[in-house]
Symmetry: C2
Subunit: 277 residues, 2 copies
């Protein structure tokens, strides 16, 4: 349990999105002996859903999560209905790709609203509706709490405690959490809430690092080992609960990793995963 | 209780630190009919402690907080001892200025440590030691939870719940919280923790706004009304607990407010305080 299982490394395709198209990323993962992939919807649409599925299957890659659904809040009932329709399509696509889960970035304040508690209620309502579709279809939904610095514009679910509360409220069947070290490492209740989630709710585990200083609020994530997060302790904490899923590298890095040779990035991911996760 | 009491506006001197020296800020507040000020230690040292005290008293300004003590964690016992010595001097200076409280930014990870729980224990120890000095001296200490994006390098106390837990642990006498809307607005437990703090622990209330997008993690705070925070709801929440202290404007703004005419900034603070707080 000291070193991570190298077979469990997965690449979130955002990590290479500037250098490679999805078909290139799929080939790259296969070439580097990486067995997991987590593609984004825009990349899948660009390649075509059927073609993406075919290539992923032909390389026997596991889709460790599909990115992404969510964005539930809206200023009007019509806006919220359109978001829900789009989320149902995301469920269908995730099923076609045989993804482990659909990752949900739940959305922030709609329009010019300042009503954060209200947005959170809209998220709960949207989740409840989407569950009615996703549960019978058999696609697990993974609520991903985002760092509080994204509360306004990306996700108003910002702690594992909130996500656990939502699971309590809406029921565990087909619902769980994506734990991303970047979003949650600071949380004083982190380990207690991982324990509370337990094996049944732990659907995905995302890795990267928090750089000091952080020069951009969106696109300055670090490679594992370059920052301050005790990733190994977090990986052990989720595995202590029985989590046996992949460790998915998701790095947005405008100034560094997005400018590097993608084969070098993948080699670095493998080495850093072994050493720091 | 709809509009705020204009008499309760205070200016944190960081808001004007690029344009004016402390003596100019003191004169400016007096000239604009602002009755509260919260100076930073470096500015006080530049002017001289006695001279700063004399000028503040001569204009009958209330020092609504002294910025700042804290930074408790250190890699070695010697580092922590030096920090504690410096904190005791900050208590003395706060007393000389007749400040309402010494504001504490508790510090983050020491050196290259990744042990956040360990840093939090060091903060508790440092606080306990400083209380032994500050309590008999009669200077209240205000723990300011900082936004989680500062957990690594500025403060590993990141929620009001943590700060309340520290007060429970260390005792309420001479210990409380500084609630800053910028650091806490996202917190799902915000209003519950303000209630838990109650009048006795609410020592300071800081205002500004969260901009979307936020272009710099440190120096892109907004003027009240320009962002997404429901400041009025928060002000009412602290006043509902019996808080009758000042509303202190603290804006770090490299690209905007630090480049404006300081008299215009003060006028804007007054108008926005009335309209949005």
């Amino acid at each position: 349990m000291n070193e991570p299982d190298g077979q469990l490394l997965s690449i979130n395709t955002a990590t290479l999105r500037r250098q490679w198209r999805l078909d290139q990323i799929i080939d790259g993962c296969a070439r580097h002996g990486i067995h997991g992939i987590s593609p984004w919807r825009d990349q899948v649409q660009a390649l075509g859903l059927n073609e993406a599925g075919r290539r992923i299957r032909s390389h026997q890659l596991k889709v460790t999560g599909y990115c992404r659904g969510g964005m539930f809040p809206g200023n009007t009932a019509e806006e919220r209905r359109l978001a829900l329709d789009d989320n149902r399509r995301a469920v269908d696509e995730a099923l076609e790709l045989n993804a482990s889960c659909l990752v949900l970035v739940v959305g922030g304040l709609p329009g010019s609203s300042k009503d954060l508690p209200g947005a959170r209620l809209q998220v709960m309502d949207g989740l409840a509706e989407l569950l009615e579709y996703a549960r019978p279809a058999g696609m697990p939904l993974a609520i991903e709490p985002l760092h509080p610095m994204y509360a306004a514009d990306r996700a108003c679910v910002n702690t594992l405690e909130q996500a656990n509360d939502l699971c309590d409220e809406l029921g565990d069947e087909g619902l769980g959490l994506a734990v991303d070290v970047y979003h949650t490492w600071w949380d004083p209740k982190l380990f207690g809430q991982i324990e509370r989630a337990g094996k049944k709710r732990l659907l995905a585990f995302h890795i990267c690092d928090w750089l000091v200083p952080t020069r951009d609020i969106l696109e300055d994530r670090g490679m594992m080992g370059d920052g301050v997060i005790d990733i190994r302790r977090m990986r052990r904490a989720v595995e202590a609960q029985g989590y046996r899923g992949f460790h998915e590298v998701e790095i947005f890095s405008e100034k560094n990793w997005w400018r590097r040779d993608p084969d070098e990035v993948l080699e670095t991911c493998k080495e850093r995963h072994r050493r720091h996760c």
